[in-house]
Symmetry: C2
Subunit: 472 residues, 2 copies
């Protein structure tokens, strides 16, 4: 038997831990907060990477590779940035058996390295925009860690661009947020709220941080991707200049944006159920698992192989002809979140058909072998739509409105989910809401609603609605 | 004008440095020995990676991701391994503002991490073989560094496999060496010598190291890829066991194999000339550059765009319609090593043709636009064959035979290149040859020649021929 996992409603945290292990996504190591990402987990990340990478390139971005290390003096150049990151970096102090003359931090993010390079290669407005990206891992010395969601080392991509004007840079920041949002909604079937972070929640050194926020099964929010606008603050600190069209010397305007392996945690907690993982077809390492039924009977394995070979031309397919029972295999690939199962046995073969079973609702669809490819494509799209629909419905049913701090506290205590409430913009109110209700500001959404004229916390005039919640 | 580079014959080292900068492959940073790999350089690495990755996967390998850090106690477990690597590692001693209870080294290679994981996931012969690979960067605290050839941080892939029997592991070691050799010869047009390293040159902790050695333009050798057989030494040190077919508890047999960004240095020094880089078509970021001639004349840019769009369906194509002169563009893309140039101007258009020019010999080939795709494919193959042929011819003309240490010394002083000589197998002779002639053993080639019955150094009986040389 495939070993069962802890039910979600009994202990969501343990359910999550069970899934990452039982679905063979990762393994723990002797390095605190660092993990082995196993083949099945890494294949999900490769699919995410391949999709995003192609999208970035279509939009004109070029991949580069920056060093792993940042000298302390370089990290110190932009004051807000170092203030934000200093407490959570790892320092290399010894190399080749000797104490280093200057400490090197293991990059927690690479703005400083990109700026040092940009100062060398940007001279004229003709050199702009610079649209760079890199795929790498970064290190942040987190105290409490959880697989994928918060780890000391994590993988990501970090885009870093420089532009001639502030308008262009802001447009890039917004464009890349939209790329992330479209990816989450269309590929990962994960509904997201697009918005801006408050001053106290923005990235260290940024003028503005945009975010997409997703709601997990337990009602908590997950920041799924961010995009930052820096103005020319780093450019000034790093002396990046260019000759403008009017021959004057100017500073370029900068952005950065990132999505990380944390999104795998988001996929698990958005779509998973008590039988295991449920993977969006676009990133599932195996989209269709072929399970032969009564495989010892003549012709069954041959037919199963023939069908698998046909489907491999369009889909990622696994045929399991091991000597486990079909029941074991069903449970195993449900645990691994394979979106579609194809069963084929002697009776099906006699009728020139097979059975497709969706991971989402287990509905059995008897399908003629002629035109099977199109039927599979259609069912995968149905799975995606079902996943998106359920996640959206759940988010909507778990999003509440509050008009007072008291209401916010009651909701926070009684109902997991997001709370919409008006805010005056004062960081003091934001801090008070966090302290009193345990809710942090998730974002000021682009799609605003006018719930009332006054701040839920202080009662002063308020013209912006904020999403508040508990967050991963 | 495109700025000229130092001629190879005048100063080969400076020529190399000029190329990596002028072809925009890399930039220096303020971190000693670490570089920015710029878009053009990184695109070469991506092409290398995509080809090898597909090959590895075809052969059943799965990608994973191991931590960046290795705790000191874990690195210390295999005695020969730590002895080899301890002098050249970087140590993280501080994290999150506090001194760490145990130092973490930044991985110089990941055998120890893979073994720790294998000990947790290998239980039975049914779990074998484990065929894992990862793409990452590693750090070795080199004293003298050169872009791509020897850097503190470098990118590579490291395959790590575990097998039920020694025979299987040895076969894997040989199989992967052959994958590297085929890749170098067929894709990179780089002839290589396959062989085994001597005891003193093998990898720290390995029972045997296999290598492919290439000869650079200046006659020096470059180790282009290695494959190691570990026996069950690490498995014993890390307590990796499995239940065998006879129910007894056994240790699995291990391999590892790697190819790194150093190969980009090898491409430069194998194929480059005084006009710049010459890139093998298989990994060139731009395979065909389209240069319109008299582009202000009506219809020229339209036609150039049309031709470029047609070719993009099969090749990596760049159309340069900037306002630089055609002469500047010719020099610029020769510097960047683009294998094929396509010129098209009003006279060509009138004749429904274009001009193809090979980077290797600048021959102009007037080519009808009908069937252009096949003509381009054919010319790219010609470029590859020419590159391979020249490199092989050069290697053969610069490979010498020696029968005595005196002859080895004379050759080493007078003629750059490789020296074939018989060796008795005694490390003392190997050390003496290194000291007296400055030649290190490159490999004991699989393809042996019987030059004489005696060791060139000591005169005792010898039954193996070794390639000796100066090396990068």
């Amino acid at each position: 038997m495939v070993e069962a996992i802890t039910p979600m409603e009994r202990d969501f945290t343990q359910w999550y831990t069970d899934i990452v292990k039982k679905a063979e996504l990762m393994d723990y190591t002797s390095v605190r907060g660092c993990m082995v990402i196993e083949p099945y987990g890494w294949a999900i990340w490769e699919n995410i990477r391949n999709f995003l990478d192609a999208r970035f390139k279509e939009l004109g971005h070029e991949n580069v590779s920056m060093p792993l290390f940042i000298p302390e003096s370089l990290l110190n150049k932009e004051k807000d940035h170092i203030k934000g990151f200093a407490p959570e970096v790892a320092w290399v102090t010894m190399g080749g058996g000797e104490k280093l003359p200057e400490r090197l931090c293991v990059r927690p993010t690479s703005e400083t390295l990109f700026c040092e390079h940009y100062a060398r290669v940007i001279h004229s407005y003709r050199d702009l925009p610079k649209l760079y990206n890199q795929w790498c891992s970064v290190v942040r010395w987190e105290k409490t860690t959880r697989p994928f969601l918060r780890s000391v080392e994590f993988h990501w991509q970090e885009g870093h661009t420089m532009h001639e004007t502030a308008e262009e840079a802001v447009a890039e920041t917004e464009r890349m947020l939209k790329v992330y949002a479209d990816f989450c909604e269309n590929q990962l079937a994960m509904p997201v709220i697009k918005g801006r972070k408050t001053e106290s929640e923005k990235f260290a050194g940024a003028e503005a941080t945009y975010t997409i926020e997703a709601m997990m099964y337990d009602g908590k929010a997950l920041q799924a991707g961010t995009s930052h606008y820096f103005g020319d603050g780093f450019a000034k600190a790093f002396d990046v200049t260019f000759q403008g069209r009017d021959n004057s010397l100017r500073h370029p305007f900068q952005t950065s944006w990132g999505m990380s392996t944390r999104i795998i945690g988001g996929i698990i907690m958005t779509h998973g159920d008590d039988d295991g993982l449920v993977l969006p077809p676009a990133v599932a390492p195996v989209q269709v698992v072929v399970v032969p039924v009564a495989q010892h009977k003549p012709g069954v394995l041959e037919k199963a192989n023939e069908v698998a070979a046909r489907l491999r031309k369009r889909f990622r397919v696994k045929l399991d002809d091991s000597d486990q029972t079909p029941g074991w295999k069903f449970a195993q690939y449900e645990m691994k979140g394979v979106p579609l199962r194809l069963e084929i046995g002697p009776k099906d073969i006699a009728k020139d058909q097979c059975v497709l079973v969706r991971r989402t609702d287990r509905q059995k669809i008897f399908t003629p072998l002629g035109g099977l490819e199109d039927a599979v494509a259609e069912q995968l799209e149905t799975v995606r739509r079902q996943m998106y629909g359920r996640a959206l419905e759940r988010r909507e049913s778990m999003t509440y409105e509050a008009r007072t701090l008291e209401e916010m506290k009651e909701l926070a205590d009684a109902k997991p989910g997001l709370v919409k409430a008006m805010w005056c913009g004062d960081p003091a109110c934001e801090a008070k809401i966090k302290e009193a209700a345990g809710l942090s500001s998730r974002c000021i959404p682009f799609e605003q609603e006018h719930l009332s004229d006054t701040c839920a916390c202080c009662g002063r005039p308020a013209d912006q609605m904020v999403y508040w919640g508990k967050a991963y």
